[in-house]
């Protein structure tokens, strides 16, 4: 009986989610949205492709199942069975900044705050300049977490480093400790619409920002729970960002999906500041065979935007 139930649930949900949420995987311990569905007991009749009539529990028909809110302790443990990873392909970046604006928008960041920074890099006088978008590296041995006195920033099982703004005391030690300078501080009361500002703070969405606390890129675990990509990944028109799960050994930018290990091997992926021993979870593909010359990113308006925002 039990068996039957599960399989039915599986195939139905799979069908219903397909095309809406991009599908869900049944080959893993974690299935976005699915585990939380509670059958309502109310059956609905449906027509199959062969013209047969089948019955389905109404609860499975909701296009996006309502996810129950996650508790703080669950947020601190993370999504079981996952090891999230990001790959940033420098050969495709031309400083469009869509990732940044989408991220700022989704997380209600204030002017002057950017979780994604697109650095104009040039290692030495005669080396090639390139654009380098940088997020939080979600280091496996995160120096920021080491120094936090109150567990306000923490490392999760799925590899993500998050911030609990309800606990942070604003000492800013983590900002000094992060070698990637990725953390931003709310120096004043963050401006946000009322319905955002009055929400309960969630570590996974990092919303709403709280005065006197730190924030940074969070890898959008709330989106992953829904089976969706982080905002920057889906926003980039050039497919620079790839996101995925090391346990599944694949990363995707929405349009293309690669086997993570192959991608890193073929394109000689590397991580930033390997010598510091922070073990980042963000990998970079070197800026070779570029899609755009560096100069295309130098459009004055982008530069201005970068400096102003």
């Amino acid at each position: 009986m039990k068996n039957n139930d599960t399989s039915r649930r599986e195939f139905l949900t799979a069908a219903l989610m397909a095309g809406i949420a991009g599908g869900c995987s049944s080959n893993n311990t974690f299935r976005p949205g699915e585990d939380q569905i509670i059958p309502s007991g109310e059956m609905v009749k449906l027509l199959s492709v062969d013209g047969e009539i089948i019955e389905v529990d109404k609860a499975f028909l909701k296009p996006i199942p309502e996810l129950p809110p996650i508790t703080n302790s669950e947020e601190r443990i993370g999504i079981e069975g996952k090891k999230f990873v990001m790959v940033i392909d420098l050969s495709r970046c031309k400083n469009v900044g869509a990732c940044k604006s989408e991220c700022n928008h989704a997380h209600h960041l204030n002017p002057g705050q950017n979780w994604i920074k697109i650095h104009a890099m040039q290692e030495a006088e005669h080396t090639a300049p390139y654009w380098e978008p940088a997020t939080c590296m979600h280091c496996d041995e995160p120096p920021c977490v080491k120094v936090c006195p109150v567990d306000a920033t923490f490392k999760r099982m799925d590899g993500i480093v998050l911030i609990d703004s309800d606990r942070c005391i604003g000492c800013r030690f983590c900002m000094a400790a992060c070698p990637y300078s990725t953390r931003v501080f709310n120096w004043q009361e963050p401006v946000a619409e009322k319905e955002i500002a009055t929400q309960h703070y969630s570590c996974e969405t990092s919303v709403p920002q709280k005065i006197g606390t730190v924030s940074k890129c969070d890898f959008c675990p709330d989106m992953a729970r829904k089976g969706e990509l982080p905002h920057c990944v889906s926003a980039c028109p050039n497919g620079v960002f790839f996101f995925g799960d090391m346990n599944e050994d694949s990363v995707t930018n929405g349009a293309e999906t690669f086997r993570f290990s192959d991608l890193i091997k073929d394109k000689a992926g590397y991580r930033l500041m390997e010598d510091l021993g922070t073990k980042p979870r963000v990998y970079y593909l070197p800026p070779v065979n570029r899609n755009f010359p560096f100069e295309t990113g130098l459009k004055t308006d982008t530069i201005e935007k970068n400096n102003a925002k």
Partner: protein
Amino acid sequence: MENSTSITSEIITNDLLPQKFGKLGMIWTGVLIAFCLVGAFAYYLQLKNCLSVTAMRDYVSWGIYISNFVFFVAISLVGSLITAVFRLANVKWSTPLTRIAEIIAVSAILFASLIIIVDMGRPERLFNLFLYGRLKSPIMWDVIVIGTYLFLSLLLLYFPLLPDLKILMGSRKGSTKKYNKLYHFLGSFWKGGRLQNMLNKRAVNVLCVTIIPVAFCIHTVTSWLFATTYRPGWDSTNFGAYFISGAFLVGAGGVLIAMYIFRKAYNLEKYITEKHFDKMGRIVVLLALLYLYFNVNEYLVPAFKMKKSEDAHLTQLFAGDYAPIFWFAILAGMIIPILILIFKKGRKPLPALIAGILVVVGAWFKRYLIVTPTLLHPFLPMTDVPENYKHYFPSWQEWAIAMGSLAGALLIITFFARVFPIIPIQETINEQHETTAK
């Protein structure tokens, strides 16, 4: 003491009892209170608008609050130096200076903890440190060790005070009358019996032994707040020793100043003699040389290699925007005081005072240099931030709070000297007896 034979216990007591503020004392106290009030008002503004009233931003996320904190912690080390080290080494001449050093230590460490709370974005969440404290964070170590040091310093102030309290209570002088209740509360039980004296002495000895390692810890841990990060200029294995030597220097400089002022204000020429300036002067020279040595280590070695990350930072210090402050801190904080104090004439009270002031001011700027320029040289370029995030100059609120805290520390010392004898009476008398007996 030079003319020791002629001094009787009564005269000593009379000379050393706390005195009412004179006119100058009133003005001094008034000015300090004014500074504190301005600082308090600035802090009120900061509480209202959070840290946005400061000039700190995402890159320079620590500013003069933290430099001030380091300065306070540094100067507080002097308590252990003058009192504990000298006592254990059986250095007799330092007796009149012990209480000065101890009260400097207590007030400095008190304000160190206050200024660190001022620096917090969410001071009302201080209790989180006790609810969720992570023993792995150097901040936690600092909290523990500062609390311990404060407690030990208070004890070190208190034990030697006990005999004096009895003298104070017995005194008929009007200037101490109104504090009798306080004296009673603190030391009504002190009879001065042999057993009491013995217990007291033992306690002080135990304290002296304990406070030295704790004092080393407090400043080493403070240096680790920086040295445990990767930043150029902070990423150094030398930092603990470097900080401690600097701390001893600034503390000794502070004592020079305090000696001069108390001597003038309370007419203590008989007790704080030129011999004391001479000896303290020598010690400052020694400590300044030591600190200079660590400075050479700290700057020369990385400058020899000029790693890319250090390059920008060091060039800024040696020849860039921060060069004036840097060379001022080196010259005023070490070299000039050495040049003054190395000569016998330079160890007279007035030049010694000047040297002391140079040391302390130089040390304050040194702390500023340790914190700020480093933060302006992150590993990745400063990108996607408003232009004003790329510089740092403290706002008036920061100055007001920092100066207010310095004034507050001085105020505590001033009030303490008003209520308690700044030179231990009983110990001076005892020593007097010993010398006469010889």
